[in-house]
Amino acid sequence: MPETAPDTIKQIVIVGGGSAGWMTAAALSSMLPAHAVRISLVESEQIGTIGVGEATIPDIINFNAMLGIPEAEFLKATNGTFKLGIKFVNWGRLGEDYLHPFGPHGADMNGIDFHQFWLRHLEQNPSSTIEDFSLSAVAAKAGKFAMPDPNPRSVLSQLRYAYHFDATKYALFLRNYAEQRGVRRIEGKVTEVRQDPETGFIQQIELEDGSAIPGELFFDCTGFRGLLIDKALDVPFKDWSHWLPCDTAQAVACELSGDILPYTISTAKEAGWQWRIPTQHRTGNGHIYSSSLMSDDAAIDSLLKDLDGPAIGSPRKIRFRTGHRARLWEKNCVAIGLSGGFLEPLESTSLFLIQEGISKFIALYPSADLPASVRDEYNRQLVKKFEQVRDFIILHYKATERDDSPFWNHTRTMDVPDSLTQRIELFREAGRVFRYEDELFSKPSWVAVLLGQNIVPKSVDPIVGTVDRAGIARSLQSMTTAMTNAVTQMPTHRAFLEKYAWSGASA
């Protein structure tokens, strides 16, 4: 029988603002009645946020929907644009590029993955590219955008999208949302984290002005500083830099020039890579690199040289360590965002990992005694999520043929997790891709990147060996025709935005 009056948490303290802090505050305030739980967020204007131009994946739509945020309002407030995928330049080989689009390639038939049919087609049509069978990719290349059609029979139902936006504006947008729902914002810099001498649980945080904020549950959203999870609770960090050697980024915005692209661009460089994220009025840029193989000055030069337009301000340096806390929930502290772990934003997963941290917490929402079994399950699920994203990101570095710099020579020849080796080998043998349950990246995502990085299967899966080639060719032709027609009808990305959610703000 359920207990009638369970002990509930009545005081939650979020330490740190930024995307992580305000996403947490917004989600909790949407779920918990303000009269029952007091939620406070402590942040200091003296401490800047990482806030670079942010690219996302389609899951962000679910997060905003959970909060009941109207899409157009959100896009206007954050200078947001639509994103249909990521273009990877110079990753597999210098001079080559490919798109990792959102959504499926073609249509699976008789329970067999579409890419298997395409691989059989490729045997006799070596110039065919799988991107031509992704509506998101075809639209992205044409600079077009339209909303997906909920009717599964429409080709437009295959479209998937996410956003590019200004992360600082997003945090502000969510701050308004959360404050309207009773979240109390406290301005102040944390000077002390007071713990119970026996249990080590955090009792309160103390601010520069001498005030104390007590709480039953604390969220550490203090970014790389990890004020609670690291400095106070000393939770060890699981370092993955041997697989992902980049440790520094230089970020700068520049003026927008030309069309607003409906995709992110990631260009592989000598010792890392550079991102380009278009928002409505400017482009966010960053150069991520390994500081042991490239100097800051060289990284900045390379970044500035490749900007689309004049830089807005000077590049800002960000140092990071790749990996995650061994336990993201320790005692009465949950680390969300960079304090919990960091994976470079090559596949735009930063906000997703924040979102997962929050949604798993909500699904496991504990009673006031914070049972160890709940913490344990939370940590199991979050670590699994980090590991899944990690393998997908490492794939981009491992599956390269580049041998033009020490950086690529290292990543190309390094040992990778067994789970990833097995995936690569399975694909290399006969194009087989198996998705783990609850895994973020779908089969088409793995296929797009594996093929894009030039891992072409040695043979097709025998299961398509009996399928008539001419029939496959006809099906593929009708798919491309339907997609091309659909994209022709779409407005340009800019035209769609101007009509739907133009912010009117300037850069």
Binding site: M1, P2, E3, P6, T8, M31, L32, P33, A36, M66, N110, G111, L119, E123, I362, A363, L364, Y365, P366, S367, P371, S373, V374, E377, Q422, E425, L426, E429, A430, R432, F434, Y436, E437, D438, P457, K458, S459, V460, D461, P462, I463, G465, T466
Partner: protein, 477 residues
Amino acid sequence: MTTRSKTIIICGGGLAGSLATLSLSLSLGSEYHIVQVGGINARHEDHLYGGATDPGSYNFLLRLGLDEPTLMLRSATSFSFGTHFRQWLDGRSWMQCHHAPLPTPSGIPLRHYLTRENAGLEPLLISAQAALAGKFAHPPADPRSVLASAEYGYQFDADEWVALLDRKIGETSARRINAEIRSIIHESATRSVVNLDTGEPLEADLVVDASGLSRYPIEAAGGTFRTSRSIGFSLSKTPSDALGPPCRTIDADETGWKATTHLQNARHTLRVSEAGMASDEAAAHTAALGHLVEAWVGNCVAIGHAASVFEPLTPAPMMMLQRDIERLLELIPTHADPGIERREFNRRFRNDVEHVAIFHGALITIDSAPETEYWRAAREQTASGKLDRKLAQFSNRGLLTSFDLEPFNEEDWTIAHWGMGRRPHQHNRQVDGVSDTQSQSELGQIRNSVQQLVTKMPPHHLYVGKLKQYLEKQNYA
């Protein structure tokens, strides 16, 4: 890209052997020679498949050319909304039905409302209520219909299905040899020689062990079967013109349990009890429960009972057999060294075995089970860290912890927990934003819709009768 001609020999003539032979013949191109060698498994072992499938069998059989009209007209197959645990441990009784994802009012899982309202789950499940009332109708495609949430599998006679499959195999290029296997020599990871009692040696690139409990091929390759318990089992078939409900019925007693399957022309009763009980008719045959440590060893892949044996308390044995075949089809080796495929196959096999075991464990884990030899042995098999985690998380706040690609989904687990009398200690805070009045009203609406629909549905026997008349008129026969 290259492929070369290969020979796959399937050892076994029962349900596993015939399903595998037909699946491989239809799925692989002409560069694969499929050979089935029958005769080394005993037909009574197929009774351990339990005579019931889950909803996943529909598409699986359809791909083999065994569509529903064929099953209904050419065998005594009937529909199954699941398993009715009519008299289970501690006097529990519930319908372990097949159901589409449960409703999520205001985006919150139904079980959290039920916990807060201390309400029953079964009255909200259309497939449970219909089965208990002996009613059946096909779920419509229109998602607005309450019946669209129902999912179904089949109740079947394994011997009949083998006969149907064998006819289909005859239409393919597969070669069938009715001979006994005298020996198998696994010469390397890519070549075996199967010696028949006819004196004919057959060379194989891949051997599929569908030999049931004998496991000769996989053991010859070095496979190890892990078991700690045996059961006795026997099947009795009672002719009957009156088709029973669209579900299997299971009743437990102190010495084991029996399952009744309701077919178009008969009632089958499978009795399962302690092995070696001389006074018990169920001890007619015995089977060791357990599984291979690795189901793919060298170039030999075991499927069905050769790979794992579970009590057919649920459709798990058929689900495992289907998964074994699908896993094999997805991983047919394409190159000289099948190491990559073998590793992946075994990884997923181990997961499947473990996940079936924990679901069955959840049906046994109860403090008040009889203190008899049979149930003590059954309980001793349930220890698992994953099951402990699932039970602890559900008990805390109704959380359904899931692991990679489990055969039993969230609905199966929710229904099983409720059926076993488990309830979260506290309701999940997600429902706090929805008032009691609102949630009671929503639950009431679902309950009423289900109740009203069930009264309008036809009895299972009438529905099957009319369906067959219709199909015959359409010349399906």
